[in-house]
């Protein structure tokens, strides 16, 4: 039997209960093979090295969106990101324990508040999600309306928004967005992609309400199309496209409001 290959990883550690002011790096040697994910690494560390390590995970199959971390400075899903891809470009099969330069540096998602180790506070993200009313708004289909018809939708109508409906709320796009990093009030890529998803849905009638949020400076207009959010999205949602399609919609909706003579103000408060 061959010895398992090993490599070094640096993991960001932060425990306020221990009195930490700032995170520090912990270097660990971990075994890996071709199927070892970043999440497997964390699980190995928790079980074999240091049981106090905190991180989030659930599905291990890129569906729940809870395992987001920064790997070498790039937002990644831990369960969809593999050690082999990091050691490969330094020489396949070489034992990296030989030199103890870390192959991977694992940190909590950028731009969020660190709570403990790799766990961040996602409240800002959730507030933005809620603000755009990410659900079908149809006054005619209230439960107490007996005449409400069932919603039918053609494949073509579904195709208009399907891409934007694939979001798993992992928040990687927020960790990739410098505008969100500079201004946490920015509604941000995933929430705007979701707003756009419902605006494009043939069953929905809530576009006007959502545009009140998107039309503001902290809505679509904070985006400068850096585009990194779409690069890191593990689900191919292309939130940058949604935000910038949202700018076109916002420009239209502001023009309409201008002609109607109503104000374009922020109605969120």
């Amino acid at each position: 039997m061959t010895q398992p290959r090993t490599c070094y990883v640096d993991i960001s550690r932060y425990d306020p209960e221990r009195g930490d002011q700032y995170p520090t790096m912990q270097r660990v040697q971990v075994p890996y093979d071709d199927s070892t994910s970043v999440l497997d690494v964390l699980q190995y560390v928790k079980e074999q090295v240091d049981s106090s390590l905190s991180y989030r995970w659930s599905c291990r199959m890129a569906i729940c969106g809870s395992c987001g971390v920064m790997v070498n400075g790039i937002p990644k899903l831990g369960c969809k990101d593999f050690v082999r891809d990091y050691v490969a470009h330094k020489g396949v099969g070489r034992d990296h324990a030989a030199n103890d330069a870390p192959a991977l540096t694992i940190e909590p998602l950028a731009h969020f508040t660190g709570e403990r180790d790799l766990v961040v506070n996602m409240d800002e993200f959730l507030t933005h999600l809620e603000a755009v009313k990410p659900y079908i708004i149809d006054p005619a289909s209230r439960p107490n309306n007996p005449s409400a018809a069932t919603h039918s939708q053609t494949p073509a109508q579904l195709a208009r928004y399907q891409q934007f409906a694939n979001c798993i709320n992992c928040g990687l796009c927020y960790a990739a967005c410098p505008q969100f990093g500079l201004n946490p009030e920015f509604v941000g890529p995933a929430a705007i992609a979701l707003a756009h998803r419902y605006n494009l849905d043939s069953r929905d009638h809530g576009k006007h309400e959502r545009m009140q949020v998107l039309n503001t400076h902290d809505g679509v207009w904070s985006c400068t199309f850096v585009g990194f959010c779409s690069d890191v999205c593990p689900k191919g949602v292309d939130p940058a496209a949604a935000v910038n399609q949202g700018k076109v919609e916002s420009a239209k909706s502001m023009l309409i409001q201008l002609f109607k003579g109503s104000s374009i103000g922020d109605s969120r408060s």
């Binding site: 932060y14 306020p16 209960e17 506070n121 410098p178 990093g181 850096v226 585009g227 910038n244 076109v248």
Partner: protein
């Protein structure tokens, strides 16, 4: 207790994607230079002497280098902008979405057409 990492003004040095983004934004600098040159040209039309001064300015090697950089910057900006366009304004006709490649090619074709038109204008229709 928790900590909030602050983004510094040097955030864009963190990796290649951000640097390429900043390069795209920076293309505006050589373009402003070109615009100033052209504006100066318009004002120099007032009298013959100033116009010949402007011609000498335009022939200066440094100015030519600056304008060549502006051309490069404009092409780089166009290349990055053209691929974004189909994502921002996808064209749908009934159930058919126009392929992004076609839209990018269409935009370059338009650039070529405008360039040829300009060439035709400056050469007085001799090409």
């Amino acid at each position: 207790m928790s900590y909030k990492p602050e983004l510094t003004g040097r955030w864009w040095l963190k990796h290649g994607h951000f640097k390429r983004y900043m390069l795209r934004e920076a293309t505006v600098i050589p373009l402003v230079f070109l615009l100033c040159s052209l504006l100066a040209g318009v004002f120099s039309l007032q009298d013959v002497e100033r116009f010949s001064q402007w011609q000498a300015y335009m022939a200066h090697p440094l100015v030519i280098i600056g304008h060549t950089v502006a051309l490069g910057a404009a092409l780089y900006h166009a290349a990055t902008f053209f691929v974004l366009f189909p994502r921002v304004m996808p064209i749908r006709i009934a159930n058919y979405t126009l392929p992004a490649r076609l839209m990018v090619a269409g935009q370059w074709a338009a650039v070529l057409a405008v360039a040829l038109l300009c060439l035709w204008l400056v050469t007085g229709g001799r090409v």
